[in-house]
Symmetry: C2
Subunit: 169 residues, 2 copies
């Protein structure tokens, strides 16, 4: 199958597929005499696997080191270890998020609990001082990093990029 068809079937853009090839993530590709890329059916599954892993919080780098060239020959040990580590990362992040959320809730309360005899300016100072004091206490929660965000419109739904009438710009 050519790259356009693979793009359709996987829901990714051709540029993204070429990018994955360039960084050594997608290796199941050959060339026709005319230079066109050609992919086996399996490539659809590999791309699905990649995007699923991404959504679970794996970086492309991590995915590359885990993905075997043959989908039936995984490094079982490395895979399980990576999964466990990723879960731990997520849990660390969850802890951080819970902290941030609690922090913000406390802040809202603190702002609203202005003593009747205090003007806004003084209240602002009171809240600020509290907040900066809070902060200096919590300097220990270092967590492993994970990128699980920016989850907006990564997927092309109706395959845009057809250079026909789309003509935006």
């Amino acid at each position: 199958m050519k790259i356009g068809e693979l793009a359709q079937q996987s829901g990714l853009t051709p540029s993204r597929i070429r990018f994955y090839e360039r960084i050594g993530l997608l290796k199941t590709v050959e060339r026709r005499p005319n230079g066109y890329r050609t992919y086996p059916q399996q490539a659809v599954m590999i791309l699905g696997l990649i995007t699923t892993a991404q959504r679970a919080g794996f970086t492309l780098d991590e995915i590359r080191t885990l993905l075997p060239s043959d989908l039936t020959h995984w490094d079982h040990a490395a895979l399980m270890e990576a999964l466990a580590r990723k879960i731990a990362d997520i849990e660390a992040l969850q802890a951080r998020l819970a902290q941030s959320r609690a922090h913000l809730l406390r802040l809202i309360e603190d702002i609203q609990e202005r003593p009747d005899d205090m003007d806004c300016a003084a209240n602002a100072h009171r809240v600020l001082t509290n907040m900066l004091a809070d902060q200096s206490e919590a300097l220990d929660v270092t967590s492993g990093d994970i990128r699980l965000l920016d989850t907006k419109d990564r997927r092309q739904s109706v395959s845009p990029g057809h250079r026909k009438k789309t003509a935006s710009r």
Copy 2:
């Protein structure tokens, strides 16, 4: 106070402080006749506020629109709205994280529950198929974005960058 002292007191690097000025985030700065920047004591608090807000998940852009030039004159309504929105963002992300975590746990179980009569290759295929099926079901959890990650070593603890003996490179 000069920029080096502010850097010490705030725990940020001078370059970062200059950067904040450049993007219009830190405005309380004047110049001495020799061109050196000079800051009021208040600048320490402003920088503390900025990093605290960052750790709560606010982007510098958001912080800039919320930060008043005078720390005692906040846009109360905008601030409360932003705090509420940020909490909602965090909660959306928490939901996503819980999903990802559950997904990974299910995956681990699924891998380990290989039927005795199945070889690794066939098991790999079974697990893969399950996973990609799972994924197509959950296509609705679109969340607002938030950047709350990469929380490793943003702070200079012992003020590196003194061009004395540090001499790395």
